[in-house]
């Protein structure tokens, strides 16, 4: 092993990326774990917001529909970096003001929770539109059949609408998930120790920018590849019962 590294001239690189100090590998992996934690949380929160948002837009009253239109328009109009700065500083400020008003001291807001909230709100706007489209793509007859057989609204949602819309929503949601993993990098600007900030610190401490950013890029790529496998499975499951478009033998 060492011989191989030696002949390739990578001994120094291996030492830099080593998991034990003085290598910075463990820091990068900790950053990756933080990134994934935020991405998962934000994606999950985005799905919940998206499902309510989509239902609100499709079936809500005029006021709710207008509010949701403002939400999705504003969130999708403003660059995510700006949104993160606004939501992060305004959000923590508001919470602290509220805490002081209610007689508590300053509240320490965990970076992970703040990151999940900020990105979750962004993801929710996109998820609202993805799920709205998917719900509209579900053949109305299937929902009508559920109603005709006495299924209450929530049961219909759980047993008929959501499973049926998965087939239409999965590709869009896979996109959204990948965007979530990469948007975590934007949280570096508010000083949260996710993968990009950890990489930057390691790189500037050692002056090995190329090595560390290449390594970080590799880690992001790994996440994408693994996500691809998972989403391919989900899509296969979600599309069960639907004939393949390729069946014609093209």
């Amino acid at each position: 092993m060492e011989l191989i590294l030696e002949t390739l001239g990578l001994t120094e690189t291996a030492a830099l990326l080593s998991l034990s100090p003085p290598g910075w590998g463990a820091n990068l992996l900790r950053g990756l774990a933080n990134s994934l934690q935020i991405a998962l949380g934000a994606f999950g929160m985005g799905l919940v917001i998206g499902l309510f948002g989509a239902y609100g837009k499709l079936y809500g009253g005029p006021i709710l529909r207008d509010l949701l239109a403002i939400y999705t328009t504003v969130i999708r109009a403003v660059p995510e970096l700006v949104l993160i700065l606004i939501l992060y500083y305004v959000g923590t400020d508001l919470i602290n003001k509220l805490a002081q008003f209610m007689g508590y001291g300053r509240v320490e807001i965990s970076g992970v929770v703040a990151g999940i909230w900020v990105l979750g709100i962004v993801q929710g706007a996109y998820a609202t539109e993805i799920l709205r489209g998917a719900i509209q793509a579900v053949p109305p007859g299937q929902i009508e059949a559920a109603r005709a057989y006495g299924m209450p609204a929530l049961l219909t949602l759980r047993r008929v609408t959501v499973p049926a819309l998965m087939a239409f929503a999965t590709p869009g949601l896979a996109n959204l998930w990948l965007i979530a993993t990469k948007d975590t990098a934007l949280l570096a600007v508010v000083g949260f120790n996710e993968l990009t900030l950890e990489t930057k610190q390691a790189a500037s401490s050692t002056r090995s920018y190329f090595t560390f950013f290449l390594a970080a890029g590799g880690l992001y790529l790994m996440v994408t590849l693994c996500s691809g496998v998972v989403f391919a499975r989900i899509e296969k499951w979600a599309r069960r019962g639907q004939p393949s478009l390729r069946q014609g033998g093209l």
Binding site: P139, A148, M151, Q242
Partner: protein
Amino acid sequence: MPTAASADPDPAATATPSTRTVSAAQGQSGQDAVRIEGLHKSFGTLEVLKGVSLTAKQGDVVAIIGGSGSGKSTMLRCINFLETPSAGKIVIDGEEIKMRADGSPANRRQIERIRTRLAMVFQSFNLWTHRTLLENVIEVPIHVLKVPRAEAIAQARTLLQRVGLANKEDSFPAFLSGGQQQRAAIARALAVDPSVMLFDEPTSALDPELVGEVLTVIRDLAAEGRTMLLVTHEMRFAREVADHVVYLYQGQIEEQGPPAEVFGNPKSDRLRQFLQSVS
């Protein structure tokens, strides 16, 4: 709320007397399974149903015929409130569905409970495409009627066998022919052991050679005494299985009676024209 009598000033509706009780054939046998009184339905300014009254006793097979836009499907869909009636009264198994003044259901729970006794078979089958045939049939028994899973599966297998789909229980609907899908939809309807079955043009979306297999299943159900309301374009079939035939014209019952009368000796000109145009 307008009654049938006051809402029907249309002189064209002369062929039917004001009493519109179906099931002359069966007489007093059995209780009313479905009673509709003065049913009105408007979509915006378009009045689709203009005071329809109809009674089906238990075991009756009532065929509803009429041209396109006559309101026959709308009438059927008002019975289980897939469409909200504008006015009128609907009584299922002696239980009146409580309505607000605008016709919307006053009690969602009641509607949901009554719907489990009314099984609808749709023109476009409306099977749940992400579930296999077996899963389609057990869905409502397990999740709405709370039947134990094993029991529901056993019953579903019997029903699928009965409609000739015993070897297809793991197939998804999209991989089956229209006739097979419609037979599966009938099995799904039977799985709730309905007191009334509502057929909304069950063969209209089928290729001609597949119509027969579905009609055979419906004929069997009629023979075993299932109460059915059947909206259909299959006149010969209606004549054969129905105890009572109702001809709707522009949202009103133009003529009704036993099939031999309605088809053999139509009194209304419109019905006569209609029968000529479809035969």
